[in-house]
Point group: C2
Chain length 422, copies 2
């Protein structure tokens, strides 16, 4: 493989000419592919269609009519299903509507309007800051931006956020009120938080008494290669008397249907009581028929685990294509670095500094829409302009193959342009 | 019929003895009936069971896969259905989750956190007041209480809120930020706002530039006797350039299933754009399969109208029992006043002053749970302690007959006790 970094200017010009020709070949194909979001393919959703007919009865095991009003925090059998799956006590769980993002947003809203555990409501503070391990999830960052929260970028390492940095920040600054975490198969890098990272997050001293960890376990059962395990943060937090620090989120959006799944949050008993006080004013209850549908479909936690193996089988060939194509086209070129995720929905890559935007723009011009460069950083601003999130789930295998081959050409072309400009 | 007001003390004592005997007869029956909430009966919900099998396809008319992510504000065919039903432009409509209460709460949240149309966010103000026509809906008042909004009670008349009083208040006080309205078959009295009331609400000058009408048209198509029509408030508001004043809410909670219906809100184009900006951060979208289920089930607005006739037929005998029993037992006694609603879910009655709590307590002791006395007023405080909301929908006809007969005994007993104490 040609290492472009070491090439002479002449060689680079020669390569540029070849790459431009190849690139024009793609442009002339008039591709129209969308790889911008972590959106399941129709074929993946088809695996779930039986859930639409799964509702055997609208009466819960406890004899409750799920069609009618009542039950603010979810029907008991849905709580049990997710309790068994995630190892969280049923009493700690609130089942929401179809969107865990909505639960996260509303949790912020309560912190802003009411504060938590007697602390000042965040809307009354001059400044609220949040730690944003990055690359991260753009919709998390969008919530902060919407609420006027100042985002502090924290580097991500192999075992999670840079904990030395996190600890040093939260110890000193009481306006830092929390941190975003996607602890298993993180979006976009697929990083799995090590036990030590989980422990340090649970244990660390924070200047803010109302410091909160938004623990978005979106990919908690979304294994593709190895099955990674996540340390129970509630258990560790309890040891340090920091149970109130953790808000845990999960959903079936990427298990059943993104548009019609079931979301949940979990927290300490004190937090749950506080949340329910306001949630009980906000709504009489979420869609219990959909909760029941989900329970009837999976039967039990093992039912979900078996289902996730099928989804893994569906997604693995797509990840294989991305990873083998990157390996084949870019390993040793010096133009791209990436790590193989073991689960989740994405492959994150780093181009040469200053090349992400151009790479994405080149792909776009050739008809392949990638996640916008910068989207994985607070304010859409990747300071080194090098991170790109690849979302292999939506295209077909054939489409994906073409898209990733084109992507590699774009990476090379942008890289060569950059090297020539130096 | 005995007019208790004119009775001698001796006669009252005689009546009291008789009533107590009758009352004890009910107590010994060990009744267990819940008439506390406007909850449909199972038999009413059974009329909708086909909606559970109504989903012919998960692809919308526009070719969108409703199982997947996307479409923040509702699928077009759901917007069209409700647009046709309610006479609101599709562009003005946002389809939400299963709860219009949730849409109302979230609308308040946005006003508190972001303000509207460039005005100061309400959380930054020292004082926010809201007009609460009363008797009214306890869950509306609960939202105000949760958010620390000072509630001002406004008397309800036959044509809606006391508009002279409303106009005089809002003209002077810019901390009065809005008013709650259930304009058709109001909860609990079944009042239908007259054209003049709607016009005055839309037209009136308000000191607050960001004055908002929360127009909760919960019973907009819930006719039982006569079909009352409601003047289009958007149309009138437009004339006076006050279109941004109105937030309109509706849901199918009492059309299909309370636990799994579809809610919507409607507003001016400028308001909708403002709402979507924040809502798009809060969620990727609501449950589109349930929207599609609703559309497939009803087909069109006439489908809903036909269905509402069936629901009216189901509810009418229950309202008949309440109204004929009240008439038979209490007309001319001077102990209770009420008006016949033409639709909605409730019959509201007024006891003698100071008798509502005792009446409800007596019924409770005999096994019939009514809506708590006071619940229909801000802070749960009915200054005259006389209003009681009767919710006839949930019990069976037989249960309801017994419950209302008992209720009449309780009204009389509480009334006689009061007259004797004078």
């Amino acid at each position: 493989m040609l290492n472009y970094i070491d090439c002479s200017k002449e060689k680079l010009l020669e390569e540029k000419a070849l790459l431009e020709k190849t690139y024009e070949g793609y442009v002339s194909q008039h591709l129209k592919l969308d790889m911008s979001r972590g959106k399941p393919a129709g074929t993946q959703l088809d695996l779930n269609n039986d859930i639409l007919k799964s509702l055997d009865t609208y009466i819960t095991k406890e004899g409750l009519d799920a069609r009618n009003y009542g039950v603010l925090d979810g029907i008991p059998e849905a709580k049990k299903l997710f309790s068994d799956l995630l190892g969280i006590r049923e009493e700690q769980i609130i089942i929401g509507g179809n969107s865990s993002l909505n639960l996260m947003y509303d949790t912020f809203v309560r912190l802003f309007l009411f504060g938590t555990r007697g602390n000042t409501p965040w809307c009354k503070l001059d400044k609220v800051k949040f730690l944003c391990p990055s690359p991260g999830y753009d919709r998390h960052f969008a919530i902060c931006e919407d609420l006027g929260i100042e985002m502090i970028t924290v580097p991500m390492h192999e075992e999670g956020p840079d904990m030395d940095y996190v600890e040093s920040l939260v110890k000193e600054d009481d306006s830092i009120k929390g941190i975003w975490c996607v602890p298993l198969y993180s979006n976009p890098q697929g990083v799995c938080y090590s036990d030590e990272t989980v422990e340090r997050l649970a244990k660390m001293e924070t200047a803010a008494k109302d410091f909160r960890i938004f623990w978005d376990n979106a990919y908690g059962v979304h294994h593709i290669y190895e099955e990674k395990q996540l340390k129970d943060i509630f258990e560790v937090a309890k040891v340090f008397n920091h149970e109130d620090r953790v808000y845990y989120f999960f959903s079936t959006s990427k298990i059943t249907f993104p548009g019609a799944g079931v979301a949940l949050m979990a927290a300490s008993d004190a937090n749950i009581a506080e949340i329910k006080k306001h949630m009980g004013v906000q709504t009489i209850g979420h869609d219990k028929l959909n909760q029941l549908r989900t329970v009837h479909y999976f039967k039990d936690a093992d039912g979900i685990r078996r289902h996730m193996k099928k989804l893994g089988d569906e997604l693995r060939p797509k990840f294989d294509i991305v990873l083998t194509t990157l390996e084949k086209e870019l390993a040793g070129t010096g133009l791209l670095s990436w790590t193989k995720p073991n689960g989740g929905y994405f492959v994150a890559v780093d181009t040469l500094e200053g090349c992400a935007k151009e790479t994405v723009a080149l792909a776009k011009k050739a008809g392949v829409t990638l996640t916008g460069a910068g989207a994985t950083f607070p304010y859409g601003n990747d300071p080194k302009d090098q991170n790109i999130r690849l979302a292999p789930s939506y295209p077909t295998l054939e489409e994906l193959k073409v898209a990733i081959e084109l992507f590699c050409v774009c990476v090379k072309l942008a890289g060569v342009n950059k090297l020539l400009a130096e």
